[in-house]
């Protein structure tokens, strides 16, 4: 696995410069019931396709940003600050 991500601050960098923050998993805005809470904490969609996800520029500017990546090809379609 090897590809390039474009940090919105720093520009294109090897993926190994970043930490992966997982797919975007919005936090419930109101108190979830047991099932919703379980789903939020433990379930991910894990799509084979374009996924919106968090990345952290660990060996760089230290910013969190969002990316849209095709999990089948590792093609990164978009990166942006939240």
């Amino acid at each position: 696995m090897s590809y390039v991500l474009t940090c919105p601050n720093c520009g294109p960098r090897e993926v190994t410069d970043f930490s992966f923050g997982g797919e975007v998993n919005p936090r419930p805005t109101t108190r979830p019931d047991k099932r919703e809470l379980g789903a939020y904490n433990y379930f991910r969609r894990n799509v084979a396709g374009v996924q919106r996800e968090w990345w952290f520029h660990r060996s760089g500017c230290g910013a969190w940003f969002l990316a849209e990546r095709d999990t089948r090809t590792n093609q990164v379609l978009l990166t942006e600050l939240p």
Binding site: E14, G21, P28, L37, W54, G62, A63, W64, L81
Partner: protein, 955 residues
């Protein structure tokens, strides 16, 4: 040393001698020589002993393509003599022969030969009886592999750097086509890198009289702006990333477009005795002559299937070698080279080939005859047998990049059939072997690559179109090739299909008989193509043999999957620089001077102790101790919403903390699991100073900043972990010591437990936190790291009269255990909640905020945890291992585990912490611990072992 008269374009510098040693003997060489050319020049003919049978092997390709010249250079095994430049004083040794190249005891495997080592021999033979395996293994380990990796560190300490190179176009291969492609793309404004394995760009041109042309083409590409890398083989193609190894640098080239001009690999011919030293590929013989002015032999026979062999014969004649006969497998080759040979009176036999090479230890003669042998055989003497089986397109890297190949019956090779998007092929690998066609195809590919990136204009596009039209009209490939038979001549002597792994034609026959009748199976069973040549010399012959054995067409047999690495590469190059980043606090030098035993703690190097862990721990209780805690994570959280921010992150309340006060806090995930812990000190209305565990510093910063990225709060985070040093001064005399280094009033009225004050300590501006991780009155002093040693020294000096001693991590762990303070990650794991970890008081469910973990903790509060973290004492004095099992009262299994245990000299007994069934989490309950099979009865304790009410701490 004998050399030919100066050759045009020779690489050697005759005025600059270079000396090195080979197996301890001094060898005179010239600057520009390779180890191989220099040794050949002084008469060395055996360069290695083969892998299995320990047969003599000599120079075959002189181009780094075969396994025959592997030697050990300055301790590093697996170096190719024919491409390794000579260096003054280098030590070259042979490999895989003992005691010497000329007398190798393991040669017995060849002489006993025959039925002794057929394919699968090792799998079948050394499996029974099982109990003898340890003995077999010892013997086999010695017999396996080539060369020996040096044991001592120095020789193995490679320093390789990674270089990340992003480019528009990467050209792999620096021959005529590659240089043209690089120039064309660069001229259109593309950022171009060219990686070439040779020591200078030019490829085949250099050994075939085209050195001036090569120099001009390289100059042209450079002027256009291309970066040319020499001695830089590409190792593979991974999802658009091509690692290029150049000396002590690994270029990780990531290009938008790739042009492969990898050329062809000259193929050997298969006949009995084809591995004898003195059997050489035509390209190898030519390189010896033209690059190093070395005469490869005195009397040569040439066997070829194409014009390459004829050209080589002419070159050999030019070098003064007597060419006794040229056998051309083609029946009707009337090329200019053939005419030139005839004019010179060389005997040119058509439709003929070599049926056998003869000789002991070296070629002494060859049997020539018609294909398959029709009776008109002739035995001729020679000391050099030059062969050429034609060129097989070097498609491996292309295939790794996604290209497909198909069998080309006319040329008898697997040629490119399709290319993936963004990948181009040009030159001989794409079938354009003739110089002008190669250059034109390179220029077209380079221009097309640039055009696809939006560079160039209508003119350049028109030129590219015209160029590719011209290419499609022109002649393709070398003029006429005959496809050689799988094996020429069927005689007793061995015929090697794979030189690396010593696989003979007969072995392939046997493996098909045993049912390994597909090329991929045969590869795994016989290990053909799996050696150092990576199939360059053996893939095509193996496919031909397989086709003949199974009656399939070559198309049906197909090729094996191309896999990296394409070029043998030391592991050290891939591993990169041996780089273990060690963090050291700014006080570290002092710890060393004090004789600390230093240990790894995460990324940090920290004092385990100063030689006396029990004494150091006791000193903290009896007088005072000083520990370097600079490794703690330190964050400043600042802004109008800082309090709100922390209230959302911690289960307890922090916004109501008064400036100058401290609170302990645990960070949990949204699943309510403990992530980290530390203290929070409010500096002023808008600023908090947050400490984290040493190992959690990075993760907590990521965690905080992640939530901050999502929440619209006016908060700013600053990580000051590296900028500030910290020490903890603790013990009954700590107060008196503080008074000597600081003006701050340390009376318990003025500076109470959990107060934080900013004041000077030994002249350094500090934040002093009165907290007590080790159970005694303590001051954690944070100050600029630059003053680390100064403050440390001042404190030790001030404490000298009070019995102050530095203490390390081990005594600190004992002291905190006495206080039952948890270590996150040691006493807790990824499943632990504050409730299980006996800290229900830290969770404030009556807070307003939907803090992180709240919902899960609300549920946890309702459903009591199954297990709980408790303390225990052990009367019988044995210290159980961390991780020892807590056993159920009846039945089998495990109901908990010990997380920490120590013998406490202060308390005079063994204490520890363990997860036990929640029902047993009460003072006085008894649990059974199994430590290495020994059952221990432990008594549960729920309050700190030392100073359970915290009176000492607060005093």
């Amino acid at each position: 040393m004998t050399r030919l008269p100066p050759q045009r374009g020779e690489r050697i510098d005759r005025r600059r001698p270079v000396d090195f040693t080979f197996d301890g003997q001094r060898v005179e060489a010239l600057e520009g020589d390779t180890v191989g050319s220099a040794l050949y020049a002084v008469g060395q003919r055996t360069f290695s002993r083969s892998f299995k049978y320990h047969r003599r092997r000599g120079l075959l390709c002189c181009a780094g393509q075969c396994p025959n010249c592997l030697v050990q250079v300055d301790g590093a095994p697996g170096v190719r003599a024919c491409t390794e430049p000579v260096r003054e004083g280098m030590h070259v040794e042979h490999m895989n022969a003992s005691p010497s190249l000329d007398f190798d005891a393991m040669r017995a495997t060849d002489l006993v030969g025959g039925p002794f080592t057929p394919p699968g021999f090792y799998y079948k033979t050394f499996i029974r009886p099982r109990r003898l395996w340890p003995l077999y293994e010892k013997v086999l380990r010695r017999a396996a592999g080539l060369g020996r990796v040096a044991k001592s560190r120095r020789e193995r300490e490679w320093r390789t750097e990674y270089r990340r190179r992003h480019a528009d176009v990467l050209v792999v291969g620096g021959g005529a086509a590659g240089l043209a492609a690089a120039a064309a793309a660069a001229e259109l404004g593309a950022d171009v890198v060219l990686a070439d394995e040779g020591p200078a760009p030019g490829g085949r041109l250099l050994a075939e009289g085209g050195q001036d042309h090569a120099r001009e083409a390289a100059e042209h590409a450079r002027r256009a702006g291309a970066e040319l890398l020499s001695n830089a083989p590409a190792l593979g193609a991974f999802d658009g990333l091509v690692p290029v190894w150049q000396g002590d640098t690994l270029h990780q080239v990531r290009a938008k477009r790739h042009v492969y001009t990898t050329g062809v690999i000259e193929q050997p011919l298969l006949f009995p005795g084809n591995d004898l030293p003195g059997v050489m590929l035509s390209g190898g013989a030519r390189r010896l002559v033209s690059l190093y002015a070395v005469k490869p032999g005195t009397r040569a026979i040439v066997a070829t299937v194409c014009d390459r062999g004829l050209d080589a014969a002419l070159a050999l004649i030019g070098a003064g070698v007597e060419v006794a006969c040229v056998a051309d497998l083609r029946a009707d080759a009337a090329s200019p080279a053939a005419q030139a040979l005839v004019r010179r009176g060389v005997e040119l036999r058509r439709a003929a080939t070599v049926l056998e090479a003869r000789g002991r230890g070296h070629v002494q003669g060859a049997v020539l005859g018609a294909r398959g042998g029709d009776g008109h055989e002739r035995v001729m003497a020679c000391d050099l047998l030059v062969v050429s089986g034609g060129g097989a397109p070097a498609t491996s890297l292309l295939c790794q990049a996604g290209a497909r190949t198909a069998y080309d019956a006319e040329r008898g090779v697997f040629a490119l059939a399709s290319l993936p998007g963004g990948v181009y092929a040009a030159g001989e690998v794409a079938g354009h072997g003739e110089l002008h066609a190669a250059e034109l195809s390179g220029a077209v590919a380079g221009a097309e690559a640039a055009h696809s990136l939006g560079l160039g204009d209508a003119d350049s596009r028109a030129r590219a179109v015209a160029g590719s039209e011209r290419l499609s009209r022109g002649p393709v490939g070398p003029s006429g090739v005959a496809v050689p038979p799988p094996v020429a001549g069927d005689r007793g002597a061995r015929c090697f299909a794979c030189l690396c792994e010593d696989v003979t034609a007969k072995d392939i026959h046997l493996s098909v008989e045993e049912g390994y009748d597909s090329i991929e199976l045969s590869k795994r069973y016989t290990t053909t193509t799996m050696g150092p040549c990576q199939g360059r010399m053996c893939q095509l012959p193996a496919i031909r043999l397989m086709a003949a054995e199974t009656g399939q067409s070559l198309e049906q047999v197909g090729t094996t999957t191309a896999r990296p690495p394409w070029q043998a590469v030391p592991m050290g190059v891939l591993a990169g620089r041996p780089f273990e980043p060690a963090k050291r606090s700014s006080i570290h030098g002092r710890h060393r001077e004090l004789g600390a035993n230093v240990m790894w703690a995460g990324d940090w190097r920290r004092p385990y102790d100063y030689g006396d862990p029990r004494g150091e721990a006791l000193a903290v209780h009896d007088a005072a101790g000083l520990i370097d805690v600079s490794t703690l994570g330190k964050l400043i959280v600042r802004g109008p919403d800082a309090g709100e921010f922390l209230d959302r992150l911690y289960p307890n309340r922090l916004s109501n903390l008064r400036p100058g006060r401290i609170r302990y806090g645990v960070i949990t995930s949204d699943a309510g699991r403990i992530i980290d812990d530390g203290t929070i000190c409010r500096l002023d209305d808008e600023s908090f100073y947050v400490t984290t565990t040493s190992s959690g510093a990075g993760a907590v910063y990521e965690w905080f900043s992640w939530w901050l990225a999502d929440w619209p709060l006016r908060v700013h985070l600053t990580d000051v972990t590296q900028g500030l040093a910290a020490v903890n001064l603790a013990g009954p005399r700590a107060r008196e010591i503080m008074a000597k280094v600081s003006a701050v009033d340390c009376s318990s009225e003025a500076f109470a437990y959990l107060d934080g004050k900013q004041a000077d300590v030994a002249g350094a501006r500090s934040l002093i936190l009165r907290i007590g991780f080790v159970g005694e009155v303590g001051y954690e002093i944070h100050f600029p790291a630059a003053h680390g040693e100064h403050v440390w020294d001042a404190l030790l000096e001030a404490g000298a009269d009070y019995g102050l001693r530095p203490f390390g991590l081990e005594p600190q762990r004992l002291l905190r255990l006495q206080k039952m303070h948890i270590l996150v990650g040691q006493d807790t794991d990824s499943e632990s909640t504050p409730y299980g970890a006996a800290m229900p008081w830290i969770v404030k469910l009556d807070k307003d905020q939907a803090f992180i973990g709240r919902w899960a903790l609300e549920r946890a509060a309702e459903e009591p945890p199954e297990t709980a973290l408790v303390g225990f004492t052990l009367p019988d004095g044995r210290v159980p291992k961390e991780g020892a099992a807590v056993l159920p009262e009846s039945g089998d299994g495990q109901v908990g585990q010990v997380t920490s245990a120590r013998h406490s000299p202060q308390l005079g007994q063994v204490i520890g912490m363990a997860w036990v069934p929640a029902g047993l989490a009460r003072d006085g309950a008894e649990v059974t611990i199994s430590d290495d099979g020994k059952r221990l009865r432990a008594r549960v304790v729920t309050k700190p072992f030392f100073d359970p009410e915290g009176e000492v701490l607060r005093s």
